[in-house]
Symmetry: C2
Subunit: 142 residues, 2 copies
């Protein structure tokens, strides 16, 4: 059963429309750590993340393969993003970073705004922070 | 007057809720190019962008001051972002980059997906690309 919202005269768009999807964990599957890789490291990182999430039995984030996050000099690259929250881009990763990246992503998903305290972030994400972008709703006026 | 949607049995969330705002141009106002700046270069870049947009008589983007895009090593930094489109982060900018940054942002706003062809981007944005993030709706399965 779904309860209906109370009727009212407001014509303003609702603050939230429909169900909010889980945050996305974008993984660049074109990243490589050397020119002669048989399978690209980015693809291996992606597959390792999917496997790690299955092992953990969580669906806290949606793992999405991406074709280039334009962070090629610091491969492998991922990004955490979702509606109404900060976006984070990380680099300097490798296929064996999957467990730590997933841990960071689950912590990110557990916040309301995407801001995970520095001391709670996995080491590899502290070292590999490339950039962050405010949520679209943010109207900071410092 | 606001027209009401046609009644129907669908419970799916609408594809679009309310008016779509213009893309945001986030400008880090904490960026500085030297430690002894009287006024931070990021703030000067922000103010120059606002002035440039006023001169151009455009409201194609919403210029939003931000407090740190975590790209401190390649200041000054900006990001282009909006619903259902790619996000771009740029660095290596300065207060006198304002006209070129605004030109790039207006071109970004004119696209449906945020993808401006490489040859149409201002030089300073070609050199200063830090990262890009897919739109949340993207479900690339390469």
């Amino acid at each position: 059963m779904t309860s209906s919202p109370a009727p009212g005269p407001s014509h303003a768009p609702p603050a939230s429309c429909g169900a909010v999807p889980p945050p996305s964990l974008f993984v660049c599957v074109l990243c490589r750590l050397s020119a002669d890789e048989e399978e690209r490291s980015g693809r291996r990182l992606h597959d390792a993340l999917v496997a790690a999430q299955q092992r953990a039995g969580t669906a806290a984030v949606r793992i999405v393969p991406a074709e280039c996050l334009s962070n090629c000099n610091r491969a492998c690259s991922v990004a955490f993003a979702g509606p109404d929250r900060w976006t984070y881009v990380y680099g300097g990763l490798a296929p064996d970073s999957a467990e730590a990246v997933l841990d960071g992503a689950v912590r990110y998903a557990a916040t309301a705004d995407g801001l995970v305290p520095w001391r709670e972030r996995p080491d590899i994400l502290r070292k590999g922070l490339i950039a962050r972008i405010p949520p679209l709703a943010t109207t900071q006026e410092p």
